[in-house]
């Protein structure tokens, strides 16, 4: 693990910690490392905030920011082209999205752009979109230049980071950056957030009501 969360963390014992819950959808071509990226985030240093799930297609993880605990429900999508049509079901209602591409495969970048376009057209208007150039550890095979992606992100108003699920580079930073950008006041029903735990087979009690704090 590498980078530390940049956000300041509040003390978990603070009783007034606000809990915000967000739905975050992962989009990107097959095999660009969507799942790995999220697994790195979830299995990393924030382990104590990880909720057990039955599989990696849905993951939940909380991060702490100041006086707020931000809980991400992370919805993975299948990247195969043939399942493209299902994507709207997943990004509907999502407050955040990470569009992932592989810096060694230009076609995945093109696909990522298509996703961004679709999100901006069809998803919630306020959705926070982050672009992740994954597999940054394979710099020697790079085919998508950092600047190119950076420029595109700036033009379209996205968060952008190059990440490596393998080395954990920028993984936590990416999620923290998203968390910071989320409208804390607007989380749906902050007061009810604790209730929105969904159905969890294995650990019904490990929810975001836990005291916050953390990562390192």
């Amino acid at each position: 693990m590498s980078s530390r969360g940049s956000g300041s963390r509040s003390n978990g014992s603070l009783p007034q910690t606000k809990i915000c819950q967000f739905k975050l959808v992962l989009l990107g071509d097959m095999a660009v490392g969507k799942s790995s990226l999220v697994l790195r985030f979830v299995k990393g240093q924030f382990d104590e905030f990880q909720e057990t799930t039955i599989g990696a297609a849905f993951l939940a993880q909380s991060v702490c920011l100041d006086d707020t605990t931000v809980k991400f429900e992370i919805w993975d999508t299948a990247g195969q082209e043939r399942y493209h049509s299902l994507a709207p079901m997943y990004y509907r209602g999502a407050q955040a999205a990470i569009v992932v591409f592989d810096i060694t495969k230009p076609e995945t970048f093109e696909r990522a752009k298509a996703w961004v376009k679709e999100l901006q057209r069809q998803a919630s208007p306020n959705i926070v979109i982050a672009l992740a150039g994954n597999k940054a550890d394979l710099a020697e095979k790079r085919l998508v230049e950092y600047e190119e992606a950076q420029t595109y992100a700036e033009d379209t108003g996205l968060l952008f980071m190059e990440t490596s699920a393998k080395t954990a580079m920028n993984v936590n930073e990416l999620f923290l950056a998203i968390a910071k950008k989320m409208p804390k006041t607007d989380t749906q029903n902050p007061t009810h957030a604790a209730r929105h735990r969904g159905v969890n087979l294995q650990d019904p009690d490990a929810h975001s009501t836990r005291a916050c704090c953390g990562g390192n």
Partner: protein
């Protein structure tokens, strides 16, 4: 629900066996107000056609269900009790089906023409005579429907041409469902009614009223020759009634010749029955009846019981033999069968014993006589039918009862021994009933009796009696406690009692412990925890228990104490929801009626389900702020709001959704026939696809894993609670993950890997069922839980199903999901937030039931807002009844009272005691009935009434009475 309250009307004076069952109901609710006077909802509580009196003919149902006290309200039965219904319960519970008020003879005939033989309808002909129209078997040329008048003799009713008298028409019908007497064949309740095992089932059916016959709830027997209607045994105790006509006289002699079954349950007099076996038969001298039960009519000396060719000795012998046989059998009784499955006889049929035709054991005091009734005769006939005789011949020969008697003497003799046994069992049952409520359960746990061959054959072979019968009879037979010769008066501390309880709990899926277990499970998804609880449950079951009436409550406390307070609270809420005299209970009941009435009107499944969910949410939000719920809370157990909400949700699922589940599924099927075809077509395509074509890069479930997954999905399909369905879906998904990891342990699989395997699995599952399930879950789940893992996998399942539906093998596959699907998902997402926002809004829609043009006729449940005025309600009535110009009044305190057009409908409702009023939409001028009472007194507040009328709610939440409000769905779509 229909049955609820009805019995009060029918005024059973009969068998005490029915009287103790209220005590069999698990823990009494604290301080429940007495049942309201009965004018209430005639749709459900038809006023008795004839005033009840003490009964000369008091059929006692020997059925698999504990006889319900006729004065207790079945709807009050707590959920933990066995919900098996007696035949009388079924008749009572389905009255609005077989006696839709306002039915004309012509309509009746039309309804009946398409029904199986034996189906009947009751209707009032001119001059207020009740007619029962029976569908006859198809015999060349003969009219298909025959009407028989129900006539009144003294205080009793009887079929025209028959000499058998009954207290009321319910008992009459109940009897003729078992025995045909003068009819061509026994009456047959609709199959759906006959196989109903729970009150909820009946509630669902009877809510339809006459519409039932046209609905798809009116199932046809798969094989008309083989019905599944329960074979019920009635204990009949003939008491001659002096009639004015010669007809009477013939009736007196008729029963006597049939006295084969001398059965004498002794209810009030335990000693009698204790000594019964050895010295019972005193054929000619029935013991005196208790004065309180004696009717004037019956006080005349009984005529000598019968002509019997029998001697008391033979009778005694029979009885002794029966007892010993019974003893032997008891230990080997196989586990109780499920009520509806016809059983084969479990034991050899003993040689036909000598027939104790005349001798009558001491009469049950409460039964008012020592005579026998010919009820068995018909049973015998039926038995013979199944033994191979052709029905038609049978009917022919049965045209005259008297002739038949002779003809069937042999058969009767054979039957007699069975009857003896039955009688013994019955005695026990009655005794037990009288003192131990727990013991009542024993009869309800059927053990296949050895002697019932004829009846079994009967039910299997196509008689009209149905398959509950074996259980019913066995119920009677199982009753005797371990030491039959000297049966203890009550089974106090009886080890067998404990066993019976255990068996009961084991076999009755709705026993309180199980139910609470379920609830716990529902609240806790952790399988391990659940396993632990199961163990606890098991331990509880094995504990021998005391079978005392008064121990009942304690026992229940112990049981529930071992489980969780949560479960107990949930159970109480369920009880409240079923309590017909509580405000909330009425709300739930009306909601159900409303839903059932409007269900068929929806054109999309989403619409249908959303309305149900919306109303559930409203009920929930009402309950959460009601004083009714506060009264249920135990001060020592504090719940967080979230916890409370989830408990209420679980209870509502049980009390609202569970009875609606089947109708909902049927409606969904109706709405989905088209998409099913597509689904099935593409299923084959997907099945033929290679794993590569599906995009699968991992291992796929092996056969064994597929089986386990299918098991979970099947279980999911059976489940009624959306939350529990989702848990099962997650379990299935977990199994999929497991099988994916087989080739690559430890690797975490994301959606790229999971979705294709999910497709693979779904293509090998029952996709049509799953499609309904997914929709059911998506729309009906608790909006508070629509996020999270369950939501993700639900979305994935839905998406995979939709993808299969639109699967294109050319796999240029960017085919968009249909617009409807996208919209559906969109609405679903949107609704979550809307529902959540609504949580705080105290939104409650209420319901009112209106009759028109007379009380009891044509009930409609209308949704109202707190702001709805009587005028608006009148307009609604005009629309619903398609009848303008009528007046809306409220019938309360026995009189029809006018209501001011500006009055708020809910205020009117809230002024009345729940259940003790009804709204009537009637022609304006009704001389004599409309009694103006300006000084209308405030009706007493019922304990369970909310202290305040339901809180106001935002009008935009409702469409029904908020014309002009934007249609919600539209608003949703335009996010």
């Amino acid at each position: 629900m229909e049955a609820s309250g009805v019995p009060q009307d029918t005024g059973h004076s009969g068998p005490l066996s029915r009287s103790s069952c209220s005590s069999s109901l698990p823990p009494a609710r604290p301080g429940r107000p007495p049942p309201p006077p009965l004018l209430l909802r005639p749709s459900q509580l038809p006023a008795p056609l004839f005033p009840p009196l003490s009964s000369p003919l008091s059929p006692i149902v020997l059925s698999s269900s504990p006889p319900l006290d006729s004065t207790s309200d079945p709807a009050l039965a707590p959920p933990s009790g066995p919900f098996l219904l007696s035949s009388l319960d079924r008749v009572l519970g389905s009255v609005s089906v077989w006696q839709p008020r306002g039915l004309s003879p012509d309509t009746a005939s039309r309804f009946l023409e398409n029904q199986p033989a034996g189906t009947f309808l009751a209707h009032t002909a001119a001059d207020r005579v009740t007619m029962i129209s029976v569908r006859l078997p198809d015999e060349g040329g003969a009219p298909a429907v025959r009407g028989v008048a129900v006539q009144q003799l003294h205080a009793f009713v009887h079929l025209e041409g028959s000499s058998l008298l009954f207290d009321d028409v319910f008992k009459l019908i109940s009897f003729y469902c078992t025995s045909r007497d003068i009819l061509a064949m026994p009456l047959k309740l609709p199959l759906s009614v006959a196989v109903a095992t729970r009150e909820e089932d009946l509630e669902v059916l009877s809510a339809l009223g006459a519409d039932f016959w046209m609905s798809d709830l009116n199932q046809r027997p798969q094989n008309p020759d083989r019905t599944d209607q329960p074979n019920t045994y009635l204990y009949v105790n003939p008491v001659p009634v002096e009639g004015p006509s010669s007809e009477r006289k013939s009736s007196i002699s008729k029963p006597e010749s049939f006295l084969s079954e001398a059965v004498t349950p002794s209810l009030q007099n335990g000693e009698m029955s204790k000594k019964l076996p050895p010295r019972v038969k005193v054929p000619k001298r029935p013991p005196p009846r208790p004065p309180s039960l004696t009717s004037g009519l019956l006080s005349s000396p009984l005529s000598p019981p019968a002509t019997s060719s029998d001697t008391p000795e033979s009778d005694r012998k029979e009885e002794g033999r029966a007892v010993s046989e019974k003893e032997g059998r008891k230990s080997t009784s196989p586990p109780p069968p499920r009520p509806t499955a016809p059983l084969l006889p479990q034991g050899p049929v003993p040689p036909a014993p000598q027939l104790p035709q005349g001798p009558v054991p001491p009469a049950p005091l409460q039964c008012t006589s020592g005579c026998q009734l010919p009820a068995k005769e018909d049973g015998q006939n039926l038995a013979k039918n199944t033994e191979g005789e052709k029905r038609k011949e049978k009917w022919g020969s049965r045209a005259g009862l008297l002739g038949e008697e002779v003809e069937q003497e042999e058969a009767v003799k054979r039957k007699a021994q069975e009857e003896q046994e039955l009688k013994l069992g019955k005695e026990d049952m009655l005794k037990t009933n009288s003192t131990s409520s727990l013991a009542i359960k024993k009869p309800s746990r059927p053990v296949p009796p050895p002697r019932t061959k004829p009846s079994f054959a009967n039910s299997a072979g196509g008689s009209n009696q149905a398959a509950g019968g074996p259980t019913d009879q066995s119920a009677g037979m199982k009753v005797p406690p371990p030491s039959p010769p000297q049966r203890p008066d009550v089974s106090l501390y009886s080890p067998q009692g404990g066993a019976a309880l255990a068996a009961d709990l084991d076999s009755c899926s709705i026993s309180s412990t199980e139910e609470e277990g379920e609830l716990n499970q529902e609240q806790d998804a952790n399988p391990r925890v659940h396993a632990d609880r199961s163990c606890t449950k098991g331990a509880v079951r094995r504990t021998p228990t005391i079978m005392l009436d008064r121990a009942r409550l304690r026992l229940s406390t112990v049981l529930t104490g071992l489980i969780y307070h949560d479960g107990r609270l949930t159970k109480r809420i369920i009880e409240l929801a079923r309590d017909p005299v509580s405000y909330f209970g009425n709300l739930v009941k009306d909601h159900r009626a409303f839903t059932l009435e409007t269900m068929s009107k929806h054109t999309t499944s989403t619409e249908l389900l959303q309305e149900i969910r919306q109303m559930m949410t409203q009920l929930k939000s009402y309950l959460l702020q009601s004083t009714e719920l506060q009264a249920l809370l135990e001060p020592q157990h504090q719940y967080t709001q979230d916890k409370l909400e989830s408990l209420v949700e679980a209870a509502l699922c049980k009390s609202v959704l569970k009875p609606l589940k089947e109708p909902i599924y049927r409606s969904l099927e109706r709405l989905h026939t088209e998409s099913w075809r597509q689904l099935e077509k593409n299923q084959a395509v997907v099945l033929a696809s290679t794993t590569t074509a599906l995009g699968i890069c991992t291992s796929i479930p092996e056969v064994a894993a597929m089986e386990r997954i299918s098991l979970k999905l099947n279980k999911l399909h059976q489940e009624y609670s959306p939350q529990r369905k989702i848990q099962l879906l997650l379990k299935a998904c977990r199994l999929i993950y497991h099988s994916m990891s087989v080739s690559c342990p430890g690797r975490a699989h994301g959606a790229d890997d999971f979705l294709p395997v999910m497709m693979y699995v779904l293509a090998r599952s029952n996709m049509t069922a799953l499609q309904l399930d997914v929709e059911y879950m998506m729309e009906l789940m608790d909006p508070a839980l629509t996020q999270g893992e369950g939501s993700y996998y639900l979305t994935t399942t839905y998406g995979a199903l939709e993808h299969i539906k639109t699967f294109d093998q050319q796999r240029s596959a960017t085919r968009q999901l249909s617009r409807e699907v996208q919209d559906s998902i969109h609405r679903w997402e949107r609704r979550r937030t809307l529902n959540q926002e609504r949580d705080g809004h105290n939104s409650v829609r209420d319901f009112l039931t209106v009759f028109s043009p007379e009380i009891g006729v044509n009930p409609k449940t209308l949704g109202v807002l707190p702001t709805t005025s009587i005028q608006e309600l009148t307009d609604q009535c005009a629309a619903r009844y398609e009848q303008a110009g009528f007046t809306l009044s409220v019938f309360v305190d026995g009189v029809l009272q006018p209501v001011a057009p500006t009055d708020r409908a809910l205020n009117v409702k809230n002024r009345c005691q729940p259940g003790a009023y009804c709204f009537l939409y009637h022609p304006p001028d009704r001389p004599g009935t409309l009694q103006v009472r300006p000084d209308r007194p405030d009706p007493p507040q019922v304990r369970t009434c909310p202290s305040a009328p339901p809180p106001p709610l935002p009008g935009e939440d409702f469409q029904i009475v908020s014309p002009g409000k934007p249609e919600e769905e539209e608003a949703l779509i335009d996010l």
